[in-house]
């Protein structure tokens, strides 16, 4: 089942920050990792990812450094900063609150009690 894009786009910064929590990654790795971890549910377009990453870098949530990848080619690795880690916690909390609320509504319907 194809996911509604609007459902995904709002949570992209959270997902990207979460991926970087596990270690430094470059753009292509992030897309692949996201696809694997979501079991093919999230197929992020690279054209969406890079403006997002550059925006996060601008806000100081991630830093980037060019390094040589295992294949010997130069790649731009992104690293989660301390500010980024704090932002991730906040976004996780907000997401969990939102998900619980949506879940309650979907399960229980309207309560007139």
């Amino acid at each position: 089942m194809e996911l509604d894009k609007s459902l995904v786009s709002g949570s992209m910064p959270l997902l990207v920050l979460k991926l970087l929590e596990g270690g430094d990654l470059y753009g292509y790795q992030m897309i692949e990792e996201l696809r694997k971890r979501s079991e093919d549910a999230f197929r992020l377009k690279a054209g969406t990812l890079y403006p997002l990453l550059h925006g996060l870098e601008e806000k100081g949530l991630v830093t980037a450094q060019e390094r040589r990848a295992e294949n010997g080619k130069t790649r731009r690795y992104y690293h989660l900063t301390d500010r980024g880690r704090d932002a991730l916690r906040e976004k996780e909390d907000a997401w969990n609150t939102y998900a619980r609320a949506v879940g309650r509504v979907l399960k229980g319907g309207v309560s007139l009690a």
Binding site: Y26, G27, Y28, K45, A46, G47, T48, Y50, P51, H54, G55, E57, E58, G60, T63, A64, Q65, E66, R67, R68, K73, T74, R75, R76
Partner: protein, 466 residues
Amino acid sequence: MRDYGTIQGYLETVMEQIRWKRARPVVARELEQHLTDQRDAFVREGKPRDEAERLAVEDMGDPVEVGAALDAIHRPRPQWGLLGLTLVLALAGAVLRAVFCEISGGVNAGHIAVPARALASLGLGTAALLGMYFLDVSRLVRHARAVYIGALAAGLLTLFHFPHVGNCAYYTRYVVLFYPVAYALALYRFRGKGWKGFLLAVLSGVPLAAVCCLAPSMTGLLILLFSGLALTLCAAGGDWFGVGRWKGACAALAVPAVLLTGLISRGYLNSFRQRLAIALHPEMDPLNKGYLGGMLQSFWQDVPPLRQYGSVGAAVHAGARVRIYTDSAGMPGNTMPHYYSSDFLPASMAVLWGWLPLLLMLAALAVLLVWLLVKGLRQSCLPGRLVVLAVVVTLAVQTLLAAALNFGFVLFSAGLPLVVGNLQTVVDLALIGLALSVFRGASIAREEPEKPLRQRKRLRIRVEYQ
């Protein structure tokens, strides 16, 4: 019609959406890396190369939308606040130099900042500030070795082929103010080179320090030592050498410790202690050279916060006193001035107008330096951070030494940045412009990847026995 099906065509369309030309190659490089990775992945899946490239481009998304999104992020960051504060201070400095030229009676015009010179230095300095502001610092970083050699060559050239004033290489004193920045860029060359890189980084400061000693410019040497320590610590903090943060920091601190131990063992500590004691108590100087310091310290005893408008007589009287003349021996006996030293312009200003205007000027200078430092330390790109740190330390040491000098603690000669000295103002404005260009181009600042260490070639001789 452009072919979006190729990587080149796609990148050209994305780049056309980005208005800041300097950002284009930086952004294109990363997108190209991604597209080639994706294309190679499709090729590995068994797709023909042309189709793989087309699919990789399709996977990337609409190039116009992508370009527009990147354009919104990658814009130059104008530094209006810092530019404004710097220019206001420089303008105030130029006016002060012109005013105090008038007060001092225009004696010996060869050494006094005449109004025309002050205005010319302001114009030239503004041009230097803006020239550096629009400069692409990443180019300097890429050509760090050339910058270092150029700075060293300029120092040697002015040292041996330009006029000396009072046994001092006049222009070398100003060239050495660029040395901390040259050293900051030189540090970039030693990234990831381990202890060998650290040692080379320390040694690369030696030729620069030698030029300072030959000039001689003790202020320049002090600035270089302090900035060298700050820069090496900052680089070690970012594990620039790849030896570990703490080990790098300890090694950076060990260098001045070794240097100090060497100086103490050679008996320099006693002479410095003596010099410091005389700076604090100029009347104790056995050679009677403490006249200048004593006179300056006595000034401050009756300087009011603000001299009242109308007490012109007092001001004129004070104005006469603020003509701080020194002769080569600093002796009080010779009442005829040999030259008026503009280094004492801040003290002159305080005596004439009260200490509050001077305090305001020093506060504005402190705000500028702290603003530069805070912004500089926030830079994610280490070379940019190092360049800003070099500029701030240069200006801060100048300020501290100038303040000490003007309060009568005569240790080293130094002019207050942006206020004292025409040529020094031009140099200081150029340095500030360089720091501002780092902030302006922060969104596209990139650290070059480490170069792999060269493989050692080993000659293997195989002896075969038959």
